[in-house]
Point group: C2
Chain length 332, copies 2
Amino acid sequence: MKKVTISDIAKIAGVSKTTVSMVFNKKDESISEETKEKIYKVAKELNYIPNFVAKSLATNKSFSVGIILPDITNPFFSEIARAIEDEANFSGYNVILCNTDNSVKKEEEYVRLLISKQVDGIIFIAGGESKKSLNLIKDNNIPFVLVDRYIDGFENFYGVFCRNYEGVAEGVEYLLNSGKRRIVFVKGPHEVEISKQRFEGYRDTMNKYNLYNEDYVFESDFTIDGGKRVTEEFIKDIDKFDAIFYSNDLMALGGIKVLLRSGYNIPKDVSVIGFDNIKISEFIEPELTTIAQPIYDMGKDSFKILLSVINEEEDIDRLHYYTPKLIIRGTT
Amino acid sequence: MKKVTISDIAKIAGVSKTTVSMVFNKKDESISEETKEKIYKVAKELNYIPNFVAKSLATNKSFSVGIILPDITNPFFSEIARAIEDEANFSGYNVILCNTDNSVKKEEEYVRLLISKQVDGIIFIAGGESKKSLNLIKDNNIPFVLVDRYIDGFENFYGVFCRNYEGVAEGVEYLLNSGKRRIVFVKGPHEVEISKQRFEGYRDTMNKYNLYNEDYVFESDFTIDGGKRVTEEFIKDIDKFDAIFYSNDLMALGGIKVLLRSGYNIPKDVSVIGFDNIKISEFIEPELTTIAQPIYDMGKDSFKILLSVINEEEDIDRLHYYTPKLIIRGTT
DNA sequence: CTGAAAGCGCTTACAG
DNA sequence: CTGAAAGCGCTTACAG
């Protein structure tokens, strides 16, 4: 029951470890067909499974990457993670999953762990002001790519982002064109960069038409519950509004729930618009109008970029920006 | 910029590698305070980060586990995965994520990969008749625990399951007590063991009251889309039904969508009941009545069990069965 | 066409 | 109280 190693194969096949290793690594141009066949035969007989840990130590390559994200339970992140894992697997890489709950402390712990495990790269979806973690990664020369949320001071590293400002602006224009004037905006948590960008898209567009009113702006978490709570609050505070722009779909879901319960008709009494286009948004009734990010593609590309950095390819585009697009559905 | 190793520390601190290793591994009862302090000081100065790959090779422990599941994008699995990762992280383990899309072939590839990477254990949510993969794991002496779906021939290994039969039976009894008679049942894919169990809970309960009618039974995938498609089908085929039992929540979501679109009032015209109690089920309108599994706990326990197997503890309960419970909400 | 030897960064009996 | 040496399972210049 002992694990079979390259030495066992070498011994039985009557060759050296070097030869066996060469064969398994396809550096076998100079090795006779006969020897090769013998080695493969013995390997099969013994059910040989190579030890990647030993290989990693010898080659300094682990074929593992880490993915650091706030919470895999959030459909936006699970879709990104799925895309990353698909692409990684396709390229022979494994993915180590790390949930941070937006805690900078947890991020740092995971970074240390991932470095210890000698990952070849890290995909990082920041939960806040994650500079310390990123510096750790950088100082250890680990390739990384930022996804979705960027971090001050790391604008010039690799990243995959969405034009949040433009996305929200487009949504607001659309609402205005539909005759809405009193548009509530629910911001995400202020520690996160994208919250700011999305808010500014709203503020500037409203200002353009002299309609901006600070009293219509609220802040909450990027969760269903966050959307519920904030909506419960503001529907008793402000007397009139004809549309609500939530900074992400999850919030919008929670908000819609509260609105329906409170007797609002959507979209007759109030229009609702979200951001992300997570899958569930088209399965609720009414279907959610939203600003769609190409979530799966963003995940996929983030791994592709990481891979080019790992492979030290030249002329890699450092920053990928996606333009989200408005998808009009039942809530507006 | 070269990586700093234990040898560097030893050299600078003027001690041997052995001593340094001892100190970092807390096998330091016999080492003088002075030496210890010196070593820690040097380690800090050099920003030493240990190399777990080397450690793994030496100790034959990787502190990584693999989690094999159909699709992380499915809220049921992402919640389980989250629980596992939380618990794993708490115990100093990392989690390698593997999406199989229910493909037995992908499962086997991942198993091989995980063995190569020397994982200490595997949590396996089977996508079908996964015997070959499980035998591979078993033959390589890797601890594993089955979650949610069990596999013929592996009943006596470690596992965390739900009493599917009883759960559905409870739901059906409840529908019958509410005066429903024509209860449609939507099965999951027949390759999956839990599909059968859930169906039998329905069939036997209906039979008990002489109400079982094969024409009311359909089969589809465990997805939103599966629920949509099957519902579109049967609402034109059967003329009268007063309740629908979907084998999971995702299907129910898709079904509800179609029903609402087709003008049915839920629950007035038709009651709907699901299975799982994924988070979203209480955020739709009307809220979904469902048979709740303790998803997070199941994930958590699966890792705990795995850990006891890894640590070769004695008297581990091999099989954990959870009794799901009916949660009555708006769709009934 | 193939092999001996050193090395990757750790741990761990064993010795003193 | 501490260290020299062997070993974990691979790879890889180098030599022949």
